[in-house]
Subunit: 179 residues, 2 copies
């Protein structure tokens, strides 16, 4: 198995969230050649945050993609000049008002290798403490939701917590705890 | 917390994978109004497939989004007229050559509620048996990879298995096993 060869790459459209390219590629195996859609996004960061009582801190917000109110781990986009750990600390403070002095890097994933070119990085922030009011963007409206691990698992299994990146974060947290 | 009100919705571009809309919405809370990117995709299906020896069956393939070779659960797009269970059985047969007589519905997720409007459905197919050669699309090149649960967890934790939807599938499988 080999990577396909890139013949050309053309920007179709640049939006706030992604740059949409059409990439022409050729298979070294079959010789087949075609045009493929690729979205280039900045990297994202998710924070699995737990307070000193063992409660996980999640955010409840309206999401435009699904047109529903969701419950997710605090998360955001890496800004220019930030490393993933910077983004994690910033998003935790902005979206939940909390800070942490105990961070664990849980690694990263690809949100969708089929057509999205970016990574999402995961951090566990333990012993979180409330520092002050949320710092929200113009369009952000967030409520904090806390729950213990059993309830978190239950809401994932029932589908109430539906975001695949929150699922990835929980899986990485659980696997990391057991190693 | 309330859902935002949709004022207008305009198709920007239709590709093979998605329809890209700009949706104008207003917050009932703040009165703020803005234009938001939404990608409407067909639903996807992932199959957590295990053979009679307890080995999980995954697919290795080149992915154009990340420009890398990945290892993932067999998966695909729901075709018109299919229900999720149909798609699961079809993709398992096409991408791995296997069939199963023991299916468990593991529920669904939203791949990215922030800007993608679709669901991904998960099924556990146990006691999988090889029936015949893979049935691949023009651009598909797939190798089968099998591994036990311990190795699967290890490769998720190390990042070698990087697809967030494969992670979601494994999490749903593990939580379902423990209920």
């Amino acid at each position: 198995m080999k990577k396909w060869l890139t013949i050309s790459k053309n920007l179709i459209r640049k939006s706030v969230i992604f740059e949409n390219y059409s990439v022409r590629r050729k298979s070294p195996l079959s010789g087949n050649e075609g045009d493929f859609e690729v979205l280039e996004c900045r990297d994202w960061v998710n924070v699995i945050a737990r307070d000193s009582h063992g409660e996980f801190i999640l955010v409840k917000q309206y999401r435009h993609g699904v047109d529903e109110i969701t419950i997710e781990f605090p998360a955001g986009v890496m800004e220019k000049g930030e490393n993933p750990a910077d983004t994690a600390a910033r998003e935790l403070r902005e979206e939940t008002g909390h800070i942490s002095n105990k961070w664990v890097d849980l690694g990263s994933c690809n949100p969708n290798p089929a057509f999205i070119k970016n990574s999402c990085h995961f951090f566990f922030a333990d012993n979180c403490e409330y520092e002050g009011e949320l710092i929200l963007d113009h369009f952000e409206e967030i409520e904090i939701v806390t729950m213990d691990l059993q309830e978190l698992k239950k809401q994932v299994l029932s589908g109430k917590i539906s975001h695949s990146l929150t699922h990835t974060g929980l899986l990485k947290f659980l696997l990391n705890e057991n190693t």
